[in-house]
Amino acid sequence: MRNGKMSSQSSTKKENKKLNTRKTSVTIPLPISVSKTSFLTNIFKTFLANRFPFLSYYYINNIQKSCVKTRGSFDAHSNSVIVSEKQAIQKLWMQGSFGKGNLSRSEPTFEWRNEKKEDQPLSPEQITQNRRIARARRKKNKKNASTSITNNEDRKEIIDVNDKGNIEPTSLIDTLGLPDIASTSVSIEQIKEIDVDENYNDNKDDDDNIMQNQAISIQEHLQLTTEEAFFLCFGLGCLEIYDANDNLMTTHDCWNAFRTSSVSNITLNALQDSPLTQLDNPFILRYVVYHYFRSLGWVVKGGMKFGCDYVLYEKGPEYKHAEFVYEIIPYLVILDYKTFL
C-alpha cells in the first residue's frame, strides 16, 4: 500500500514536469516581434504620441522598419500565396503553424526527409518506405499462411517429395496445374521471399539516385491559403504580397483579388452579382471565421483531410491532435421576403 502511494505521488510529479516542458516549448505563437526598449523610453514615446503626434509618427515609422516583413507571391490559378525563401518558411511555420509545405504532409520537411546523413546509410524517407514495404510483406505472408492452412489437407496426397526432402516447386505446378499464388511448401515461400527481397533492393538503389537528383533540382515552398495570407498581411502586418508581375499589392488590392479568385470560373457565370459585390463570397465567409478563431489564440488549419472546413489546434499540429472541427454554415437573411409569399 505504501509503495502504491509513493508511485502515485511520483507519477503526478512527472505529469507536472511534462506540462511544464510542453508550455515552454511554445515560445513564439505568432510571427510578430515586440521591440525591447527600456521603461523610460516607452514612457517618452507614449508622451510624444499624446503631445506631439507628428513627431511620434517618425518614431513609429522607425519601429515598423525594424520588423522584417516576409515576402509572398500571389498565384491566382491555384488561389494561394507562395513563400519561397527558406528563412521565411521557417519563421512562418515555427511561429504559428502557417501554411503547408507543398511536397510534405504539413510541415515543410522535404529536404530533411530526403537528405542522407554521412553516418547513416539511409535517408529518413527511405527508412519509412522500407518499413512500409516490410509491413505489406508481413500482411501478405499472413494472408498466404491463413489460406494455406485450409488447403493443406487437400494437397498432402498430391505433393511429391524428392530425395533431399525438399518439395520441388516445378513439380507442384505441373501436378496441380495451378499458378503458385497460394503455395503450401516452405521452399516455395523461401524462394518467393528472396525474389521479393531482390526487388526491394533494386528499388532502393534506383530510388537513391532518383531522390538525390530530385533533391538537387526541386525546392519546396510554403503554400498559404488566401485567408492565412490575408490574416498575416492585414491582421498582423508581417507579410508583403506581390502579384504575378512582381508588384506589391496593397491590403485593398489583396481584398479584391482574393474575393475574385475564390469564385471558380464555372460558378462565375451562374452568379447574379460579381464576386466583388456579393455578400456571401466564399473568401469573406472563410476569412471571417479564420480571423475570429486566430484572434482567440487558436491555430486554425484547413480541414480538407478531415472532411470539414477548419480544424482547430490549441498550440499547433505538432503538439496535440485538434480539439475542434468546424463547418461554416452561412446565415443568410432574405431581405426581399415578399417574393416568397
Binding site: 511536397l103 528499388n203 530530385q214
Partner: protein, 128 residues
C-alpha cells in the same frame, strides 16, 4: 525541372493547370511513385495521370486531378467512366472497357491533395 513534362498540358487547359501540377508533383516527389504518365483526354477537357506505385506493381492506377470546389454528382462520375471507355486503348496502357475504378485527386489551395478511390457500381470491400 520535373514540370517540363506537363507544361504543354498546362498551357492547353489553363483552368486545370494548377490541379494537374500539384497532383503531379505530389505523386512524383512526395509519394515517389515509380512511374507517372500524363494523358490528354479531349472529351473530358482535362488530363489524367496513369501511375504505378512501385516497379513490381502490374496494374496502372488512373488518377483524375480536380479542384476542391468541383461538385461531383453521380451523373458526372458515370459520364467520366463512360468517356474514359471511349478512349482508344493505345492511349491508355490497359483495356479501356475493363476500367473498374479510378482515383480522384482533389487539390486544395494550400497544396493538400486528397485521394478518393471511385468504383463504377457497387463493389464489396477489399480484404485489407
Amino acid at each position: 525541372m520535373k514540370l517540363d513534362q506537363i507544361s504543354s498540358y498546362c498551357d492547353k487547359y489553363p483552368q486545370e493547370a494548377s490541379n494537374l501540377s500539384q497532383v503531379y508533383l505530389d505523386l512524383t516527389t512526395a509519394k515517389s511513385w515509380a512511374e507517372v504518365k500524363v494523358k490528354d483526354i479531349e472529351p473530358l477537357q482535362r488530363c489524367i495521370l496513369l501511375g504505378r506505385t512501385s516497379k513490381s506493381d502490374t496494374k496502372m492506377i488512373i488518377i483524375v486531378p480536380c479542384a476542391s470546389n468541383e461538385i461531383w454528382t453521380i451523373e458526372k462520375i458515370t459520364q467520366l467512366f463512360s468517356q474514359l471507355r471511349t478512349v482508344p486503348s493505345l492511349l491508355l496502357d490497359c483495356d479501356p472497357n475493363n476500367i473498374k475504378s479510378i482515383t480522384l485527386a482533389i487539390a486544395f489551395p494550400d497544396s493538400t491533395v486528397v485521394y478518393y478511390k471511385v468504383h463504377d457500381g457497387i463493389n464489396p470491400p477489399s480484404d485489407n
